[in-house]
Structures are given as C-alpha cells and as structure tokens.
Symmetry: D2
Subunit: 308 residues, 4 copies
C-alpha cells in the first residue's frame, strides 16, 4: 500500500499497450498531474501535443486479462486559475436543418476563470458576453481514462469503448470507484482530460478544459469474473457504462451490463433484476460529441441493501 508521487514526462494520445511509466501494486495510491485537452499544464505551458493527452500508463503488478481493475478517484482538483471551452454547439446535437445565426464573429475558444477555493467558474472571454458575471459551481470530473484495450489495439483518446476512454461523464468525480476490465498484463491505466465543469453530453465539444492534480488508488480484483464494460460506484449509485453509437446502442450495452451485475454481484435472479430496473432505473448521458457516445445505467444502492 505504497504512496507514489509521480511527475509525468511523457503523454499519450492513444490508449494502448505503451511502456509503463510506473509499476505499482494493488492497494497503492498515486498522486500525479494531468494536462488539459490541448496539452497545457498548470502553468499554461504546452508540454505535449493536443488531443486529450493521457498521463500514464501505470502498470499494476499481477494484473492479467480477465481480472478487474478498480480505481478510486480520490482527488480531481483543477490546478490553475483558468480553463477554456468551445463556443458553438456541435452540429450532431442539433437538427440537420438548423443553422446558427451568430451576431458576433468570435473565433477561437472561450476562456473561463476558475476559482477552486470559491468553487466557481465564470466566463471571461468573449468579454462582452451576457454570461460574464454568472458564477457556475465547479464540478471537477475526469473526461478520458481507462486501460489498454485487447488485441494490441491503440485507440484514440478522442473516442471510447469497452476499455473506457473519452466518456466525458459528469458522474466521474472524486469519491467514485471505477471498475475496468483488464485486457493486458499489468492492466495499464491512463488518465487525463480534466474538466472543471461540463454540461451533459459535452455538446460544445469540451467541458471547461483544465489541468488537474489527481490522486487515485488502485485495487486489483482477481477471479471475480469478467466484466464487459466500465462500471462505477458512488455512495448513492451503482453505474454501468455503454460506449457506442447511436445512443440506443449505448443504452443496450449499459443496461445489459447492469442486469449482469445485479445477477452476479447481488444475487438477483433475472426476473427480479428486470422488475427492479423497470421501475427504478435511471440513465445519464455522457459524451455525445465523439465517434462513440456514452450512456450510463444507474441503480440506487439503497434499493439493493437487502441483497448481498
């Protein structure tokens, strides 16, 4: 149960079987940093290329394909005073016939002042925007993280699949425990793309993109049976994630994974799992901007108290 403070020297814009930057044991805790989606660090210096560069990979000793890697997100803290966002809604979340009539000719990214103490973000550029002066509450979350995928693939950090990746889900906040299927020896965990705040769907193509101080603990789960998709657990909910297109297919993956979890993890028979989900399931929207979208299927833990 060692504690590692790790300073990244290299970043990756694919999640794949890359050289580990650190080998750790199940139970270990790691504090490190992530750069923003454009490769800018806590000083605003561009230290690597754009495209959700990832810190890592961290190899977990003893992890083998078929195991599950649990990662507790202990701290996700913006470590500078500003972030940036896109300024136009993505065409894919608007009617095909819709055309925006912008009165301005603003180009480039919007800028937001981030006050981690006060826990707020405020738009600062475009300067004349009527939004300037409205303080949005911070809700730091990690946009892109996961483990090396199977078959020797190296998957772009702009998308997501069974290994995790660019899911941009607002529920991936500090305190949440996330489970990934292990596909390669060492699991190879990557993390990056912090958002100080984000609307559902990341529909302007970004949250408030910012560099993070990150602390996480890993736990290797042997022999609990394979999982098919990322899962997560907060104080209130268990969650199953589906990454695909269209959203309907995300729903199919996430719901099927949740049914399996209720059966194998909580001992429910299939009928009970179906009945319970029917009247209590909740769905959240993750990314709706990338090649693969994300939906999350949730069940309140209070409903499961009597099981397991």
């Amino acid at each position: 149960m060692a504690y590692h403070r790790f300073e990244p020297q290299v970043y990756h814009t694919t999640i794949g079987t890359h050289e580990p930057v650190l080998e750790i044991e199940s139970g270990d805790r790691v504090s490190t940093t992530t750069v923003d989606a454009r490769g800018q660090d806590s000083n605003g210096d561009q230290v690597t290329e754009r495209g959700n560069p990832q810190t890592g990979p961290f190899a977990i000793n003893g992890a083998e394909p078929g195991d599950t890697l649990a990662v507790v997100l202990e701290e996700l803290r913006p470590n500078r005073s500003w972030g940036w966002t896109g300024t136009s809604l993505a065409a894919n979340v608007l009617d095909p016939e819709y055309e925006a009539s912008f009165e301005d000719d603003f180009e480039g990214s919007a800028k937001w002042m981030v006050d981690a103490e006060a826990g707020t973000a405020q738009l600062s550029k475009p300067e004349a925007s009527p939004l300037c002066g409205i303080a949005l509450p911070l809700a730091p979350m990690v946009g892109c993280f996961g483990v090396a995928p199977p078959r020797g693939q190296a998957i772009s950090t702009s998308t997501s699949s069974t290994h995790g990746g660019n899911m941009d889900y607002r529920g991936f906040v500090a305190g949440v425990k996330v489970y990934f299927p292990v596909f390669v020896p060492g699991a190879l965990f990557f993390i990056g793309d912090g958002h100080a705040l984000q609307g559902d769907g990341e529909i302007v193509g970004t949250g408030i993109e910012i560099s993070f101080d990150v602390t996480f603990t890993v736990e290797l789960i042997k022999g609990a049976g394979e999982i098919g998709w990322p899962r997560a657990e907060s104080d209130e909910y268990i969650m199953a994630v589906g990454n695909a297109r269209p959203l309907d297919q995300c729903v199919q993956h996430a719901t099927t994974e949740m049914v399996k979890w209720l059966q194998s993890g909580y001992g429910l028979d299939a009928r009970t799992a179906h009945l319970l989900l029917g009247q209590s399931v909740e769905y959240d929207v993750g990314n709706m901007y990338d090649p693969a979208y994300t939906m999350v299927c949730k069940v309140r833990k209070s409903l499961l108290a009597r099981f397991k």
Copy 2:
C-alpha cells in the same frame, strides 16, 4: 375561469381531431379521471379498450393553429390501491445477443400495491419475488397526453411526435406546466396513461399502470410565436422535448427547441445560448420502448434569472 368537473364516457386510442367532450375557456380548470393503460377505471372495471385510452378531447375556445396551449398539471393522483407492470425488459434496450434466463415461468403482469397516503408502492405479485417488501416511493406522472396533430392525422397513443403523445417522461408530474403547439381549432387536449411510478425509459413497457384523478388548468397563449415541440416548466427547470428515433434524433429536436426558446423567450443571442447550454445543459430520458423515443433537454431557471 370556470371550474369543470368532468366524467368521461368515451375514450380514444388515437390523438386526432375527434369530437370534443367539453368546451372550455382559457383559464378554466378541469377535474376529471383517467383509466389505466388497459382501460381499467378506479374500480378496476375495464370500461374501454386497451392501449393508453385518453380522456378528452377538451376544446379550448379561441385556440387556433399557431397558438400555444399551456396546461398546468395541478393534480395527478392514483385513485385505486393497485397497479400493474410488465415483467421483462424490452428487447430494444438490451444487447441483441442477450437472452434472459428466467428461473421462473411467471406469465402475465406483475401487481403492485399502491398506498397513496403512505406514498409507496410494493410489489405483490409474483408473490415469491425478493422485491416484495421493498417500498418504492410513489412519483405519479402522466405517460400520454397532448393535442390534436396537424394535417388531419390521428396518431396512435402508443407513440409520440410534435403534438406530444406517449412520451412517458418522469418529469411530467403535478406542478409542471406543459406547452403544446396548437395545430387545429380548439387545440383538442387529451390526457391518460397515469403511472404511480416509473423507471427512466419505461423499459419494461410500463410504469406502475393505474387510474388517476386529474386536475389541470389551461391557458391559451396567442401570438407568442410558434413552438416546434412540447415544452415544460417546473419550479427549477425549463425543458424542451424531442420525440423520434433513435435517441440521437430526440436530442437534436430537444436541443434545437431549447436554443430557440432561449433566444426568443429569454432574449439570449445565439452565441450566449450555445455557451450556456455547453456547460450547463442536462438531458433526461423519456420513453425508450415505443416507435418514437423521447429525450428532454433542461436548463436550470436559476441560470436564467438575469435574462428576461
């Protein structure tokens, strides 16, 4: 501002230009009842055919195509002590390859005891279910309601479109004000398909299906400019609804409608509307069982306080 107590004698399983059962004025309030999705009333008697039979239509004097009809859902109260639900998840929300292995051979509907006083629902059949004894909190909502569609269409109450219909959205609860585009003279408002409780998506094909006592007030809005899709307002949120398939297209309709609302209703320019939605939008899932699915795009009213 008359008050009408109306006892339905006839029900409809399409929403169309049918003979009005009552003519009312803008500002009027109506108390009536709805039968459950199978046409069973407060006594459990089947008084009409199955398929989300609707009470109405109520004609609003003076309503013309291009107007907007606002309906405040004042009371939505289960008026009997039991409801029923489906027992298996719909195939369309599960992976195509998934096959449930039910240990039981239970057939027919599940039965739930509904205690409106205590505000709970409990499964009572299948009797041996491990769910029996877990009290779920009631959250009464209306599954299917809307106005006569354009072009002389009569649209099945199993689906939804610009006129509303079978949207099965958990947010349509008492206290919410819903706006519909008016397509025909008198608007012709229909309401039915009450649920004591429902999971997101209505993924077993039903909520807890039950008969309701319903009270609503109508308000005719002339000349405010056409709306394209149902909209709604609660204390906390404004909401725009999209009904289509796949979910991605629902998102497109709902988001576009919300952008228009922010611009024409709150005076935001397009850029400000996009920026605001990007970092604060929320999406809820409505029906994912019917021919047309439903997604809802929401914005917190607190963020709009300074506008308009």
Copy 3:
C-alpha cells in the same frame, strides 16, 4: 374480374379509414390517375392540396383484418410532359458539419422535361445548369401507396409504416406485385405520388414529381396467414420492406419479414433460411428523407426455384 375506369374527385393526405371512393372485388382491375406531390394533375392544374395526395381509397369487398391484399402495378405512366424536383440534398444525408456553398441563388423547384415516348427526362430549369442536355432514362415508380392502418389511425402521406405509405422505393415499378397486410374491413387501398425517375433514397426530397395514369389489379388473399410488413414480387426477386428509423431498424424489420416469408411461404427451416440469406441477400435503400426511412431485403427467385 370487372374493369373499372375511375376519375378521382377527392384526394387524401392521410392514409386512414376514409370513405371509399369505389368498392371493387378481388380480381378487379382499375384504371385511374394520380396527381403529383403538390396536387397538380395532367394539365398542371392544382386540383387539391400539397403533400402526396392519394387517389382512393378503394374498398375490396370481403377483405378483413388478418387477410393480405395483393396489388399488381400494371401501368404507371407519366401523363404530362414535365415534372419537378428539389434542388438541394437533404441535410440528414450529409455530414452535420457540411455546408453547401452554392454559386447560384436559385430558388424554387427544378423543372424537368419528360418524354414518355423516348423514355427520357432532361433538366430544363435552372436553365444554365450543366446538366441540361443530359437525358436520364425514365424509370416510373410509385412513391406512396398502401392500405388503411390499424387502431383508427390516419397516418400522414409524408411517412410510412406497416401499412405502406411514403416508401419511395425505386423497385415499385410496373409489373411488380405488392402485398399489404389488411388492417380494416375493405382494406382501403390508396395510391399517389408518382415519380418519373428517382435516385436511391429520394435524397433531394423528391423524385421527378409528376402525375400518372395508373392501372392496377387487386387480389384478396384469405387465410394465408398474417404478414407484418409490405412485401413484393418481381420477375426476379421477392422483397420484404421495413419502414422505420434509423436505417438499421428498417433492416431489422425487412430481414425478419424475409426470414418469416422464406419459412412460411417456401417451407425452409430456420437454419436454411439463415444460411441462404447469409450468402445471397441483397438490400436496397428506399426513402431516406421522411420521418420513417425504408430498406428492402431481397432474394433472387432463381435461388428459391427448388423450394415450393
């Protein structure tokens, strides 16, 4: 086996249980006319409202829900010398980010000269178009036809479903026999929206829209077992149609209907049907412009010669 020459006086822009314009017997043959999608007849006079107005409905005596109505399209002949088309690709078949940069400021519809003798169509307006002078071969087809849907619905002629409707499939040409499920007494057959020619998908929102002389024969099939979707037969192919969104769902409906047809109509066991389709199925694209899209699943009749 009577022959009827019918002159329409009334048209419908929904397909529903409307008053029959003619009652006919199984085996009867009808010659009539259809107006173009804007309600213009053979003289170019606008005789009814826009929106794929339908001739009919024709009631077939003895038809009952559960029967099948076969309609042989004997003649589909443009009966005037010009048609019109849209001029821009529909936004829904182009990338969301795509924006056309038209050099012209042409508005309104394009006009095409149709020479039924020569069997060609030529663009005549916009006059300066480089396409003027290229003779495209005529391929007359019917865009929208079908029978009254179930449950008292009246479905807009802008869309399609199990009852047929606006399928815009290039394969619906003279010589083809089309099968519809019967949902209401008399079946109630409608026909309209002739195209002198059309690209796959009707992706500018129109084919070459034109009025038609139409001759068809009806055959009522009792007790052959219910069909779920429109089917068709040409000299070369049997075809099953799926109407929905997205295209993936059309494929699901059409393929499932074809499997059922191979089993119940040709006596194949399920394995043989799957194996045969796997290496010989063909798919065609119908409408990709309307609320519901269309895909057609085809099998060559030569492959089925030894069965039945």
Copy 4:
C-alpha cells in the same frame, strides 16, 4: 514499375504503424497471398491467429500524410477448394423480439466447396441441408484492407474507419481501383479477409471465408488534395465509402465524400452535384455486422462523361 512476388511470414490483426514487410515504389505490382479470417492458408493450415489477419504492411516510398494511395485490385482468386461461413443471422439485423427456432442443433461453421474453375460455391456441411446442391456463382471480393490510420492508432481488423478496414463490401472485386487517404509516411497498405462470395451486409458474420492469391498495383497520387474516406472506381461507377454506425451516419459520410469528389474531381458546382445525385445516386450496403457499418454512395460514370 517493378513486380514483386511476396510470401508473407507475419500477419497483423490491427491496422497500424507496424514494421513494413516490403518497400515498394509507386507503379509497382505485388503478387502475394492472404489467409482466411481464421488464419488458415491455402493448405488449410492455421498459420496465424484468428481475426481477419492481414498481409503487409507494404510501404510505398515517398508517400506522405495528405497524399492519396490508389490500389488496383488486379487479381483476387480463392486458392483452395473450400471455405466456411457462419450459420445464423446476426442478432443486430433482426427484430429485437425475434428468436430463431432452429430444428437442428448444428454447431460450428458451415462448409462450402469452392470450384474456382467452374466459378461456383456449394454448401457441403451441414450435410442434410436443402441448400446442398445449389450452385451459387463465385464473386471473390476482399473484406478487409486499408492503410495505417492517423494519430498512432492501431485499429482492430474487426472494424473500419476513414483508413478502410473491415468494410466487407461486395463491390471490392478484381478490376476495381480503390483510393485511400495517406495518414503516415509510406502509407502502409494491408490486405486480407478474402471472400469467395458474400451476401450484402455480411449478415451471418462471414462471407465464404477463404485464402486468396492476390495481385495489386499501387499508385501514389501527390498533391491532388486530401480525401476524407476511401473511394473507388470500377468501369461503370465511382464510389465513396462511409464507415460508422448507425447506417444513417455511413450514408452521411459517403454522400458528403461523393459531393466533394464531384466538385473537386469533376468540376461540378455544388448545385449541379446536388441535382445530379438527387435523381441518379445509388447506395450499396457493406458490412452490417461489425462495430462500424459500411455504406457506399455510387454514381454512374456515363453520367459524368461530359465533365472533366
């Protein structure tokens, strides 16, 4: 313009920036072999792992990102006397509620005798199948081929994207010239997964899977302007390919790419391109089994004779 006879020693199940097996020049011709989807060679020996193993990559000297690589498929010839196929339709092309009732309990793959001289394939196993004895005409095509993708990705040969990959399109036959965007120095061309025959969509998950003798010629096109998706040309058609999900998105990519091609390659203005496609476009279905589906947008070259 050298001619290379190449014997593969190594195969890849991702398409990525792997070590070239041969460096060739623009204009060179290569004869080689491919193994079947399970890694079986012309002798039926399993020489590498399953999963559409690719021969290559072949590096084209001088190829740089932004160039286009043309590959003429000169010969695609099954080099053994049998192939295999799946035996059940994929769940994703059937209605979610559909369940096959197989009378047999056949497991494993079906086997087909392939007679390259006679140009036919016949089912030989399951032995009792009514299909045995029906000779299907061979139509050899390549299922999976393409070039190294951008951003250091290594993309599984079970899927497809802008770089090509597992497109399973029946139109990729001998005589066709295919164009790929070049993303990495040397382009890195891979080829594999030959099918003696295949139905549209590869809806049993396979064509008739077989090893091939392959001959192709490469041509490097410098400075013609970037292409966004694979394109192809036969004697009759020009074709643009879209790979994504759902099919609707494939259509969007393929149609947009075709519009661009007509404009930049044939000098059509946008209006003319739209008008031409509207009345003459054809769409073919490629793979409908993989994570990404494939649609092809085609235009007859005869219609383009007067342009360019």
